[in-house]
C-alpha cells in the first residue's frame, strides 16, 4: 500500500505510453485511444516523438476526458513504461497516487520504484516469448498484449477493441485472429493475476456524439480537395509531409475521371521548397488552384517568391505546419512561431493573409477557403497549422460541405468581357477595393494579354520605375489588404459570465487549452472575456475588443509574443495594454499553464493597486 491514496477516477485521467521509436507500438497505442472513444468517452491524444527514425524514446499520451477537454492537461496518472532508457524520468513524471505499468519479466531493484504510486507488473516478454517464435511477431504482439492487460485493468469492454481490430484487418483474416488472440492473452493474464479494475476506469458514456477523430494535416488536405486545388507541389519536411501524403491519397480516391481513369490533379515533389512554391506560382498565374505544404525552414526559402506573389498579384496557398524554430530548432515539437515571418514574408513592404484554424474541422474549412481568398485577393494566403493540430488526432465536429457552393475565382476578365469593350488594365482599381482584374494566358487573340513582372509597372502593366507610379501601386495594394479584413474569417468573442475589465486573445491550437483554462480561472474567481483570432489582417473588432478592456492577455506558443507584436504594429495599440502569456518549450500549451500564468497575474493585481492605463 503506497503512502498516498491511489488516484481514483472514472473517465478522467491521463495515460502515457513510453516506447522506443520503431517498436511498432504506435498502432496499439492509437487503438487504445480509439477504443475509449468507442466507449462513448472523448479522448485527446498527443504524440511526442524525436526527430530520429529509430531507437530514441517516443511517448504517446492519451487524455481520457469525459468533459471533452481536448487540450493537453499536463501530468500523468498512469505510465506504461516500455522504454528502459527513459525509465527514471518516466517514473518520476507520474502524479502522486498514480500507476506504473511495466514489463516484470526481469526483476527490478526496489530503488527503481516509488512509494507513492501503484506498481503493476506484467511479465510481457515472458508471455510473448512463450507464445511466439518470430522476433518481429514477438515485438508487435507484445504491444497488443499490454493493450489487453490494460483493458482489464481499466475495466474496458473487450468487444469494443475486438471490433476495432476487426475493422482494421477487415481483409486480412489471419492478422485479425492473431491480434484478437494476443489481446486476450494479456487480458486473461491480468484478470487472473492482478486486482482488476484499478482506480482508473473507463465507463461507457454518451459523450462523443457525431464527432470525428482525425489529424489536422489530413483534414487540411481534404479541404484542399474540396476547395478545388488541382496542383500541389511540395518538399518533404516534418511536420507537413503527412499533409501532402494525405492530399495524394484523397486525390487517388476522389479525383479520377471515372471513364478515362485519368487524374484531375497534378502532384509534384519538388526538388526543394523554392521549386515547390515556383510551381504553385506558375500554376496560380495560369488560373489553377495550387498549394504547397511546408514548415518554417521551407517558408524561409520561399520568401523571394512570396514577395513576387504580393507585388505581381498571383494567387498561391501555403499550408504552414509550424514547428519549433529558429533554424532546425526542434523539428518534431510544436510552436506558433512563424506568425511574423509569414505575415511579412519577403523583402520590401509586404503583408499576407494568415488563417489560424483551431482544430481539424476548421483546418478543413479554412484550407478550402484559402483558395477562394487567394484567387479573390490575388495573393499568397497562409493556412497556419502547427504540429499539435497537424500531426495529432483530435475529436472534432464532422466535416460539412455546402453543395451549392461555387468557387470564388475572383476578378477574371474573360474573352467575352474583353469583346464587350471592357477596359483591361492589369493593375487598374476598377471597383475601388484595390483588387484589379486579371486575364488567364491564352484568353484572347488580340486583347487582354500583359507581361507579368516583379519590377514596377503602371496600371496597364507597362514597365515603369517612376516614383509616383510605384507609390500608386503600393497604395492600391494597401487598399486591397484593407478589403481583405472583411473577407477573412472573423474573430469569435465569448464573454465571461460577469462583466469584466480583462480580456484574453488567443488563436489556433491554443483554443482547447484556453477553453478549459477559463473554467479553472473562474473557479479561482477570475472572469475573462475571450477573443479567438482566426485571421490576419485583423478585423476591426480586434481593436474594439482591446479598447473595451483595461488590458488583454495574449496567449501564444512562441518566445517573442509574435501575434501581440503584429496587433501592436498593425493597430497602433499601446503595448502595455497587451500582456503576453508565452509557452514555448515545444510541448503543446496546457490549460494548467494558462490558468496559472493568468491567475497569478490577476492575483497580483488584487494586491497591487492597478496603474490606470489610458486607452
Amino acid at each position: 500500500m503506497s503512502a498516498t491514496a491511489p488516484i481514483s477516477s472514472v473517465n478522467d485521467f491521463v495515460v502515457r505510453f513510453a516506447n522506443v521509436n520503431g517498436s511498432g507500438s504506435a498502432s496499439a497505442n492509437e487503438m487504445f485511444a480509439r477504443s475509449i472513444i468507442r466507449h462513448g468517452v472523448p479522448v485527446s491524444p498527443r504524440n511526442i516523438f524525436p526527430s530520429n527514425i529509430q531507437g530514441l524514446p517516443t511517448w504517446y499520451e492519451v487524455r481520457v476526458t469525459e468533459d471533452g477537454h481536448l487540450g493537453a492537461r499536463g501530468g500523468v496518472d498512469m505510465m506504461v513504461a516500455m522504454n528502459p532508457q527513459t525509465w527514471d524520468k518516466d517514473v518520476a513524471s507520474i502524479e502522486p497516487g498514480g500507476y506504473l505499468f511495466y514489463d516484470s519479466t526481469k526483476p527490478m531493484p526496489a530503488s527503481k520504484f516509488r512509494e507513492d504510486i501503484t506498481v503493476i507488473g506484467v511479465p510481457l516478454t515472458a508471455i510473448t516469448n512463450s507464445t511466439y517464435t518470430d522476433p518481429r511477431q514477438r515485438q508487435l504482439f507484445k504491444n497488443i498484449i499490454y493493450l489487453g492487460a490494460l483493458s482489464a485493468l481499466l475495466d474496458m469492454d473487450p468487444k469494443v477493441i475486438e471490433q476495432l481490430i476487426g475493422e482494421q484487418y477487415k481483409t486480412k483474416e489471419k492478422l485479425l485472429s492473431s491480434n484478437v488472440h494476443a489481446l486476450h492473452l494479456g487480458r486473461d493474464w491480468a484478470l487472473q493475476n492482478l486486482k482488476c479494475p484499478i482506480g482508473l476506469r473507463v465507463q461507457k458514456a454518451d459523450k462523443v456524439g457525431d464527432r470525428i477523430f482525425v489529424e489536422g494535416n489530413n483534414a487540411a488536405a481534404l479541404g484542399a480537395v474540396y476547395g478545388g486545388a488541382t496542383v500541389c507541389a511540395w518538399y518533404p519536411i516534418t511536420p507537413s509531409s503527412s499533409l501532402a501524403d494525405a492530399f495524394t491519397s484523397h486525390c487517388k480516391r476522389l479525383r479520377h475521371d471515372p471513364e478515362t481513369k485519368k487524374a484531375k490533379y497534378a502532384i509534384v515533389q519538388g526538388e526543394d521548397e523554392i521549386a515547390s512554391i515556383g510551381i504553385v506560382v506558375g500554376a496560380g498565374w495560369n488560373g489553377a488552384r495550387a498549394f504547397t505544404a511546408t514548415s518554417g525552414p521551407g517558408v524561409s526559402l520561399m520568401t523571394e517568391f512570396i514577395g513576387l506573389t504580393y507585388f505581381a498579384e498571383i494567387p498561391a496557398v501555403i499550408m504552414n505546419v509550424q514547428r519549433a524554430g529558429p533554424s532546425t530548432g526542434m523539428p518534431t515539437r510544436t510552436q506558433q512561431c512563424d506568425v511574423i515571418s509569414c505575415a511579412y514574408a519577403s523583402h520590401g513592404d509586404t503583408k499576407h493573409p494568415l488563417l489560424f484554424p483551431e482544430d481539424p474541422h476548421e483546418a478543413f474549412e479554412m484550407a478550402a477557403q484559402c483558395f477562394d481568398l487567394a484567387e479573390r485577393l490575388q495573393s499568397t494566403v497562409f493556412l497556419m497549422l502547427d504540429l499539435d493540430i497537424g500531426m495529432n488526432h483530435r475529436l472534432c465536429r464532422p466535416f460539412k460541405w455546402d453543395e451549392s457552393k461555387q468557387y470564388d475565382r475572383g476578378k477574371v476578365m474573360t474573352a467575352a468581357m474583353l469583346d464587350e469593350g471592357r477596359d483591361f488594365g492589369r493593375y487598374l482599381d476598377v471597383d475601388g477595393d484595390g483588387i484589379p482584374f486579371r486575364t488567364y494566358p491564352g484568353t484572347h487573340p488580340t486583347k487582354g494579354s500583359y507581361f507579368t513582372r516583379g519590377t514596377s509597372r503602371d496600371r496597364y502593366a507597362r514597365y515603369s520605375e517612376e516614383g509616383a507610379v510605384y507609390q500608386d501601386n503600393m497604395q492600391r495594394l494597401l487598399r486591397k489588404f484593407e478589403t481583405a479584413k472583411d473577407l477573412v474569417p472573423r474573430p469569435l468573442q465569448a464573454n465571461a459570465q460577469k462583466p469584466t475589465k480583462y480580456g484574453v486573445i488567443y488563436y489556433g491550437s491554443t483554443s482547447p487549452a484556453m477553453d478549459e483554462a477559463v473554467g479553472m480561472l473562474e473557479a479561482r474567481g477570475h472572469q475573462l472575456d475571450r477573443l479567438r483570432i482566426r485571421a490576419f489582417p485583423f478585423h476591426s473588432s480586434v481593436a474594439s475588443f482591446i479598447a473595451d478592456h483595461d488590458f488583454v492577455y495574449v496567449v501564444e506558443q512562441n518566445r517573442d509574443a509574435q501575434l501581440r507584436q503584429l496587433i501592436v504594429n498593425e493597430n497602433g495599440i499601446d503595448p502595455v495594454r497587451l500582456v503576453p502569456i508565452l509557452h514555448y518549450d515545444g510541448t503543446p500549451i496546457t490549460a494548467r499553464f494558462i490558468a496559472k500564468a493568468i491567475g497569478d497575474h490577476q492575483d497580483q493585481l488584487k494586491v497591487t493597486p492597478l496603474r490606470k492605463v489610458v486607452s
Binding site: G282, G287, G442
Partner: protein, 351 residues
C-alpha cells in the same frame, strides 16, 4: 518614358502566314538591350519561327527568370502572356503553368547566369521531369545585367573584359541536358539565323522537354579577344552537325527526294524534321554518341552546333502524371469537389 511601345503601323504588303498573321503580329515592345546584343537576334529568330509555324500568338506563354536575356520575352509575341519571374526560377514557374493548362505552348527563356548558376537545380529538374516546353538559354558566358561577371558557362582560360582569366571549369548545359534525359537537344548561335530558326521551330513542335543552348555574345561585356563567347570566336570554331528544316503536317513533303544527304525525323505531332547533314556520321537518335561527339569536339576547342539529339517518341510530365486531357485550370467545382455524400462517408470512416 520607361517603356517603349512599337507603333501599330501595319504595312499592307507584309507577307502573311497560313493564319493570316504578319511578322508584326509576332513582335513585342522595342528592345531596350544594347544595340547589337546577341539576344536581340534570338528574339528575331523566335518571331520568325512562330510566324513560320503559324502559331496563334496568344496560345504561347513566355516565361523567363531575371537577366538581360530574361527581359526579352517582352520584345516578342506582344499578344501573348509573359512572366518575368525571379532569378533562376523560370523552370519551376513554367512547370506549374504547364500543369495548369497543358494546351498552351510554353517558351522558357533564360540566361547562362540564370540557368547555370542560381537556377542550375531548377534547369536540371525541369528537364528530368520532361516538362513539355522549349527551354532556350541565351548563353553569353557572362552576367550581362549585373555588368560582366563570369558565369558558370565561361570556358576555363577565357578572359573577361578586364583581362581576368577564368580559372573555373565551364558547365556545358547541352551535355547536362543530354545526360538528364532532355528529348530534344540543340545548340546554335545567335548569329546563325538559318540554323537557329528551324531549331526553334523543331523544339516548339516537339512534345517533351526541348533544350536549346544559343551562344549569344554580349557585346558590352563579352565580345573581346580572349572570350570564347564572342562573335568572332564562335564563327571561327563553329562545327555544325546539321541544318534543319521543319515541315508541318500540312505542307507537302518533298524532302525525301535527296537521299543520302537528308534524314527525316517525324515527331509526335506529325511534324517532320529534315536534317541536312553536314557531318556524315552524325545520328540524332543516339544519346550516348551525342554526348561523346560533344566532348570530343569540345576538347578540340570546337563549338558543336545543330540538333544534337531528338527522341520523336518522347513523353511529357502530363503523360507521366496521367492527368486528364482537359486543362486543369478549366475544371470547376462540379469536376473537382467530391460533394457532401462523399464527405459523409469520410466522416463515418473517422468515427
Amino acid at each position: 518614358m520607361t517603356y517603349i511601345a512599337k507603333p501599330k503601323f501595319h504595312h499592307r504588303d507584309l507577307p502573311k502566314n497560313e493564319l493570316g498573321y504578319t511578322h508584326r503580329d509576332y513582335e513585342g515592345k522595342i528592345s531596350t538591350l544594347c544595340a547589337g546584343c546577341g539576344h536581340d537576334s534570338i528574339t528575331a529568330a523566335i518571331i520568325e519561327a512562330c510566324f513560320d509555324l503559324s502559331i496563334e500568338p496568344h496560345r504561347v506563354a513566355k516565361i523567363s527568370g531575371i537577366g538581360c536575356s530574361s527581359k526579352t520575352p517582352d520584345y516578342f509575341l506582344g499578344n501573348s502572356h509573359g512572366f518575368n519571374t525571379v532569378h533562376g526560377r523560370m523552370p519551376s514557374v513554367l512547370t506549374g503553368a504547364n500543369l495548369a493548362n497543358r494546351e498552351l505552348i510554353y517558351l522558357g527563356v533564360s540566361g547562362d547566369g540564370d540557368s547555370a548558376s542560381i537556377g542550375f537545380g531548377q534547369f536540371a529538374h525541369s528537364i528530368r521531369r520532361g516538362v513539355n516546353m522549349t527551354y532556350i538559354v541565351e548563353n553569353n558566358g557572362v552576367y550581362g545585367l549585373t555588368k560582366g561577371q563570369f558565369s558558370a558557362t565561361a570556358d576555363r582560360g577565357s578572359k573577361s573584359k578586364r583581362g581576368v582569366t577564368n580559372s573555373d571549369n565551364a558547365i556545358d548545359m547541352v551535355a547536362i541536358a543530354l545526360q538528364l534525359g532532355a528529348t530534344y537537344v540543340a545548340r546554335s548561335f545567335s548569329g546563325d539565323k538559318h540554323q537557329l530558326v528551324p531549331i526553334i521551330e523543331g523544339a516548339i513542335r516537339h512534345q517533351g522537354a526541348a533544350f536549346i543552348d544559343v551562344i549569344s555574345p554580349c557585346i558590352a561585356f563579352n565580345n573581346h579577344t580572349g572570350s570564347t563567347k564572342s562573335f568572332d570566336y564562335v564563327r571561327e570554331h563553329n562545327e555544325a552537325v546539321n541544318r534543319l528544316d521543319v515541315i508541318t503536317g500540312r505542307a507537302p513533303i518533298s524532302i525525301d527526294q535527296a537521299p543520302g544527304t537528308v534524314q527525316v525525323v517525324e515527331q509526335h505531332d506529325g511534324t517532320k524534321l529534315a536534317l541536312r547533314k553536314i557531318d556524315a556520321d552524325y545520328d540524332v537518335h543516339d544519346r550516348l554518341a551525342a554526348m561523346a561527339f560533344l566532348q570530343k569536339h569540345a576538347a578540340k576547342g570546337q563549338v558543336v552546333t545543330g540538333l544534337l539529339y531528338v527522341d520523336p517518341e518522347a513523353d511529357d510530365l502530363h503523360a507521366n502524371l496521367n492527368t486528364v486531357e482537359k486543362a486543369l485550370n478549366t475544371l470547376e467545382a462540379k469536376d473537382l469537389c467530391p460533394g457532401s455524400s462523399a464527405l459523409e462517408k469520410i466522416n463515418a470512416s473517422l468515427r
